[in-house]
């Protein structure tokens, strides 16, 4: 009895026998070793060795026709793992096996989520059977540079140091076990959100950020995979979830569907332009980038620091690489940037919202001049002009944020220079100068109110354009403030 109820087997592995012929001096073939390792890993994931059943045809003769026995096993399997290779594509027997399974899927109206493709060797995308072209694949080979045959992970035997082999195997086992559990009805349909549970269970569940991690040219497969792992681990939902069909119309349709909902567009670039779309001059690289740009997504593009742009052959690719948002940093650094952007630090708790009205004066003072501030605000009240003073808070971060927000949001600024030190006034003016260019409109009025005591008020050593000094050394004189109030009322900026 299989782990998934109603099936004889949980997993059926379909492969070409040529891929399982042991190399000389080695006792087991690649597929056999692979199945052994996958079984071990799956057992660890599910928790018990006897909990799942893997159809094993090792006892069958090679090149046996699609016997009723095999067909039976196939029919009775919950999932199919397909070991894709040039040999597989050439074997009519394998094709039949695959077709049989697909017929089953269709007849039972089940999704292709039950099929997992293991890319044992490089297979041209075009020569892939259509049904499996766009399925989530696990790539067990890697490029060794132009003109060279790819390296096949785990050949002749998987070494403990062969990271590619074990990473892919473990990913496959993860996805497989999840699929089995789903079929069994013991897991939610959606993937769980990352590894880390929310810190406080009473907190509302964190919204998972949606990140679009663009499809890449073959040479960047590993880099993308690494980034994907980090994002998923952190709890992000990453798109695309499986490769898109390569026909231009279908590709862009699927792309638009996914990209629309994502906040972030991340793209790894190399000197290769990536696969071309059928029926278009675009490649996957340009198609994704163009759409992301037109949707105004936040772009995070990356290229290898060592890549010499002068040596990039394709002009269009070089132009993309020279773009103003392409970061030439290490992958680790990129990962940091992406995670920072995907999971931004929560902003400090914001203060009360600014009052809205015709005009708002930010009356800024040191605590020592509170009395003076009170008087001034009364004048402003009489004149029916809105004002705001900083709230009382201790945290330097909040104090700063508040001052900055008020400086950016107010219409006019009045600094109170009573008993507070000159250095304080000076620094406020500096802050004002520092932030001025971030304002949407210029300040309507800017003034330093020089109140009592008259002593110790030397030159501030700073002046900004249109700064008024309201000298009231003997105490508040409303007439002095009149000009300031005029400026505040006049809709045209003072500067």
């Amino acid at each position: 009895m299989a782990y998934v109820p109603g099936y004889k087997n949980d997993i059926f592995v379909s492969y070409a026998h040529v891929d399982n012929i042991p190399l000389s001096g080695i006792s087991k073939g690649w597929v056999e070793t692979f199945i052994d390792n996958l079984s071990t890993k799956l057992a660890q994931k599910i928790g018990r060795t006897d909990l799942f059943k893997l159809w094993d045809d090792r006892l069958l003769a090679q090149n046996a026709p699609l016997t009723p026995e095999i067909l039976d096993a196939l029919k009775g399997s919950a999932t199919l793992v397909l070991v894709l290779s040039p040999g597989y594509l050439k074997s009519p027997w394998c094709q039949r096996e695959k077709n049989a399974f697909y017929d089953l899927l269709r007849s039972k109206n089940r999704s292709s989520h039950s099929v997992f493709v293991v890319h044992r060797d490089r297979v041209e995308h075009e020569s892939c059977p259509e049904e499996i072209r766009d399925l989530l694949g696990f790539r067990f080979w890697e490029e060794r540079g132009k003109g060279k045959e790819p390296r096949i992970a785990g050949e002749p035997v998987p070494q403990p140091t062969d990271l590619l082999y074990w990473d892919e195997l473990s990913d496959l086992a993860g996805k497989l076990s999840h699929a089995l559990e789903q079929r069994r009805g013991s897991a939610p349909i959606e993937h769980s959100s990352g590894l880390l549970p929310p810190r406080d269970p009473t907190e509302p569940p964190v919204k998972r950020p949606k990140v679009f991690l663009a499809e890449v040219s073959d040479d960047l497969y590993k880099g993308r995979k690494k980034l994907l792992g980090a994002l998923e681990q952190a709890g992000a939902e990453v798109f695309p979830k499986a490769p898109y069909p390569l026909t231009a119309v279908e590709y862009e349709e699927a792309l638009g569907r996914d990209l629309g909902g994502c906040s972030l567009f991340v793209q790894l670039l190399s000197d290769l332009p990536g696969r071309e779309l059928h029926g278009s001059t675009k490649t996957i690289v340009t198609a994704q980038l163009e759409l992301a740009r037109s949707l105004n997504k936040t772009l995070l593009q990356w290229r290898d620091r060592e890549l010499d742009l002068k040596e990039v052959e394709e002009d269009s690719q070089r132009q993309i690489l020279e773009g103003p948002s392409v970061m030439a940093i290490s992958l680790e650094e990129l990962q940091y940037e992406v995670l920072q952007k995907a999971f931004p630090r929560p902003a400090p708790e914001s203060h009360a919202p600014l009052p809205t009205g015709d005009a708002l004066v930010f009356v800024q003072s040191d605590a020592i001049d509170q009395a003076l501030v009170k008087e001034i605000c009364e004048v402003l009240d009489r004149e029916r002009i809105g004002w705001v003073v900083p709230s009382e808070t201790e945290s330097p971060e909040r104090v700063r944020h508040e001052v900055e927000d008020l400086l950016l949001g107010c219409d006019a600024l009045m600094l109170i220079y009573g008993q507070s030190p000159g250095g304080w006034v000076r620094q406020q003016l500096m802050n004002c100068r520092k932030l001025r260019h971030k304002r949407e409109t210029p300040l309507r009025a800017l003034a330093v109110f020089e109140g009592p005591p008259p002593a110790n008020k030397g030159e501030l050593g700073i002046s900004l354009p249109s700064l008024r000094k309201l000298i009231c050394h003997q105490g508040l004189d409303a007439s002095r403030i009149a000009e300031f109030i005029n400026d505040v009322r006049s809709p045209s900026p003072a500067a």
């Binding site: 009382e392 700063r400 507070s420 802050n431 260019h437």
Partner: protein
């Protein structure tokens, strides 16, 4: 408020908070900690921006009242421990105005405050109780570059250093007066803090490790200041600069410097052509920095170096340049195994070292410290009247690491200091009768050093052994002069001896020739009248041998002493030799010549060949061939004579060498192989004879080289393998004690790696062999080059680049022997190697990269 949006190399100043961007969050955290603990240690690597963070970030935030609990009224005593920490503290306290008018800055106030501070750890508290701060006011003591205290403690006054730190710690612990302490320190000194009581505990409580700026924060630091000035930075430039910044700690100052240069350039261009760039809101032309400006200033890496070179070129003559060189050398410090650092120095000492007038030194300093440059601080034009005690400093350590000229100066200076230290030590030992005076290479090196460096007493004090400074320099120079006098005497007497020898050889020759003329006649008649022969022949043979010996001596003297001979003398001797060479032929033709005569003749021919080698290869081959014929006759005479066999192999090798030089490779190979055949026999017969085994390895080595040149890699590899076995044997025997054997083994490994690469073999194996060679002889440039090639082809570009760079740096100083015997530079050798690789269709994209590096 600053007139310029980017400060360049120097740290931000307190009044520049309006252009200080990107560190806002860090400042919040600083205030948080300072408020909580009344203490804060800001640590980080050099160049990470600690000083700027504190001065343009934290201090303005305090002034702005962002630390609400403490209020906005702050006095700041800003100091560096420097050469007198307590004085510096007293001075900065008075300058901060914390004591108001009560304590002026006149010398008496300073002395009084200094005395109070020194009374004990609570000195500062006591001073503030005597003269309290205004209500609600706070005092912040900011000790910038706190790490200076460690050098002070070690080299100058340990007690005062301890007292200074105790005072800081005690001020933190009390809450009677509103004192806060902040310090900045390079993180590599963090461990050293444990030398002071309570300091580690205090730091543990409140420490801030300056974080690296994120990409967004760095982008803000680039664009925002320009915007404050109504300008902007093109997004393409921002990204380019961010991409060009590595993980290097110097990135921030370099970035600031490049921006400053671009801003100068762009705003300078404005005054010429305002219409081109549009006008900003305030009517001032709008400056927008672009990639164009970036390229003009030399990009990220070159901007600083070329800017500093520009300043150097501005100095009007060589004398000023030399003054500048000496100043910069003094201001940098090299420490074993550490990064080069700054070494702030009082003006007084710089005057002493440069041997220039105060005015001259100030003039040079100002060229490097003027606004917009600030390579040195302070700018003596505006600083309060400079005194001889004014401390001059390099504004940022990144200058030491990025200015190529200065880097070379620092290397030269280290060598110079080394030479001096050795001299001083030897002089001391000599006085104690434990060392000989300098002679030969040592002496030449030291004299050359004295001539070019013109060291002074002030300079030497910096490097001399501690406690020995007084008169050590004078003693060293006196010793050097005495050594020179001794050496001259010795040389003169040797010269006399050599001249005597030459004369003797000449006289011998003349005597022999005269004798020979007489006896030659007799000898010939003796030949004719054999019956009378016995006694006569014997005498004739004796004279003949005398004659041959005379010619041999003459030849040998010429060969050995050629370089020393006056050209006219050489010419005469050669003539004399030429006239008598036919006598050698006579001996050779003589059937009954004794073995001894034959051998003397043979070695004479070889010597003649050696003499001719440089000037006339054809004649050299002829001479060697004549020798070879005689060797063959001797071998025929007695095939068991090992010496004669060996002579014959030497002759083959000599001929092989000339042919090799002439690039007649197949013929050269043939001769080396003949030599090899003989040596193989000799080595087999005398297994225990190391010398013979070495000879054999030598021939295998030659065959390897020629086979490589002929692109016959299987043969080359086979020969190299044989050579390796023998060299390994010797290396094992002497267990690494024989330098020569080790070097030769290294060479063999390099060759094996090279052959593997050329023949398209396993690059992994090539790397292994090359690395073995390199480990055995890391100094040999050839093994370096091969190791670099192997790494390169094995896709280990970083490793390769490191070695290439090292090789290139030494390329001017060291030239090394390539396959041919002419020395060539590293650069040449590498490019020849690449040619060879191409010839053999070994291609790799890294080769082009390295070639660019070579350019």
């Amino acid at each position: 408020m600053t007139p310029h949006p980017y400060p360049g190399l120097r740290p931000f100043k307190r009044e520049e908070s309006d252009i200080f961007f990107g560190r806002e969050q860090h400042v919040d955290q600083l205030l948080e900690k300072l408020g909580q603990h009344h203490f804060l240690a800001v640590v980080g690597t050099s160049g990470c921006g600690k000083s700027s963070l504190v001065k343009a970030g934290m201090l303005p935030a305090l002034d702005a009242g962002f630390l609400a609990q403490a209020g906005a009224h702050w006095y700041v005593a800003d100091l560096r421990p420097g050469h007198r920490p307590m004085w510096a503290l007293a001075e900065s306290l008075l300058a901060s105005q914390a004591f108001g008018a009560t304590r002026g800055t006149e010398p008496e106030s300073l002395a009084l405050l200094h005395a109070t501070l020194r009374r004990g750890p609570l000195g500062l508290v006591e001073a503030l109780c005597e003269t309290p701060l205004p209500e609600h006011a706070n005092l912040l003591v900011l000790v910038d570059q706190f790490e200076e205290i460690f050098r002070y403690r070690r080299d100058i006054d340990g007690q005062e250093a301890d007292a200074f730190v105790a005072l800081l710690v005690a001020s933190v612990k009390q809450r009677e007066v509103n004192v806060y302490i902040a310090l900045t320190m390079r993180s590599d000194f963090l461990g050293d803090c444990a030398v002071f009581f309570d300091l580690p505990e205090t730091i543990n409580e409140s420490q801030f490790l300056a974080p690296r700026l994120t990409r967004d924060q760095r982008a803000a630091a680039i664009t925002e200041p320009a915007r404050v000035f109504g300008g902007d930075v093109e997004p393409g430039l921002v990204n380019q600069m961010l991409n060009d910044m590595g993980a290097d700690p110097d990135q921030l100052p370099l970035m600031q410097h490049a921006l400053m240069r671009m801003w100068e350039l762009a705003s300078g261009a404005h005054s010429d052509d305002q219409s081109a760039q549009g006008v900003g809101a305030n009517g001032i032309a709008r400056v927008v920095l672009s990639l164009e400006h970036y390229r003009s200033v030399g990009g990220f890496l070159q901007a600083l170096s070329s800017h500093a070179d520009e300043a150097l070129a501005e100095l009007k003559d060589d004398r000023q340049k030399q003054v500048a060189e000496r100043i910069f050398k003094r201001l940098t410090k090299r420490e074993e195994g550490e990064r080069d650092t700054r070494d702030p120095t009082p003006l007084r000492e710089l005057v002493g070292i440069t041997e220039a007038s105060v005015e001259e030194v100030i003039r040079v300093i100002n060229v490097f410290s003027q606004p917009g440059r600030s390579f040195l601080t302070p700018y003596l034009e505006t600083s309060p009247t400079p005194t001889l005690d004014t401390i001059i400093d390099i504004s940022h350590e990144s200058l030491i690491r990025q200015w190529d000229t200065l880097k070379n100066w620092v290397i030269d200076e280290a060598k110079s200091a080394d030479t001096y230290l050795r001299l001083e030590e030897t002089a001391r030992l000599y006085r104690a009768q434990n060392a000989d005076p300098y002679r030969g290479l040592d002496l030449q090196g030291a004299l050359e050093w004295r001539k070019t460096e013109r060291p002074t007493d002030a300079w030497a004090k910096r490097y001399g052994a501690k406690g020995q400074e007084t008169e050590a320099f004078e003693g060293a120079i006196a010793f050097l002069e005495e050594s020179a006098r001794n050496w001259d005497k010795e040389q003169a007497s040797q010269e006399r001896r050599r001249q005597k020898e030459l004369i003797w050889a000449g006289v011998m020759f003349v005597v022999a020739v005269t004798g020979a003329v007489v006896f030659f006649v007799q000898w010939q008649s003796a030949e004719q009248q054999r019956e009378r022969a016995d006694e006569q022949t014997l005498r004739a043979e004796e004279h003949k041998l005398d004659l041959l010996t005379a010619i041999w001596k003459l030849t040998d003297v010429i060969r050995r002493e050629r370089e020393q001979l006056k050209p006219s003398t050489e010419e005469k001797l050669m003539e004399l030799l030429g006239e008598n060479v036919e006598l050698l032929d006579k001996v050779t033709e003589q059937k009954g010549a004794t073995a001894e005569a034959l051998r003397t003749t043979s070695v004479t021919w070889t010597a003649i060949g050696d003499i001719q080698l440089e000037s006339n290869a054809r004649k050299a081959v002829e001479a060697y061939l004549s020798g070879l014929k005689i060797d063959e006759r001797l071998v025929q005479k007695d095939p068991n004579n090992r010496q004669w066999q060996h002579d014959l192999s030497v002759s083959y090798n000599k001929i092989g060498k000339v042919l090799d030089k002439q690039n007649r490779l197949p013929e050269a190979l043939e001769n080396y192989q003949k030599g090899l055949a003989i040596r193989k026999r000799l080595a087999e017969e005398g297994r225990e004879d190391d010398e013979r085994r070495r000879d054999l390895a030598f021939n295998y080595g030659k065959i390897t080289e020629v086979s490589i040149a002929l692109n016959d890699f299987p043969a080359a590899l086979a020969a190299a393998e044989q050579a390796r076995v023998i060299r390994e044997e010797h290396s094992d025997k002497c267990q690494g004690t024989c330098e020569q054997d080790r070097r030769r083994l290294a060479d063999v490994y390099a060759k094996i790696a090279w052959i593997t690469l050329l023949s398209g073999g396993s690059r992994q194996q090539a790397v292994q062999a090359a690395k073995r060679g390199w480990d055995l002889d890391p100094e040999q440039v050839r093994t370096n080059a091969i190791a670099a090639h192997a790494y390169l082809l094995n896709d280990q570009f970083q490793e390769a680049r490191k070695i290439y760079r090292k090789g290139l740096r030494s390329s001017d100083a060291i030239s090394f022997r390539h396959r041919s015997s002419d020395p060539i530079s590293f650069r040449q050798a590498v490019s020849e190697d690449f040619k060879k690789l191409r010839e053999n269709r070994i291609v790799h994209r890294g080769i082009a990269k390295v070639e660019r590096l070579l350019k």
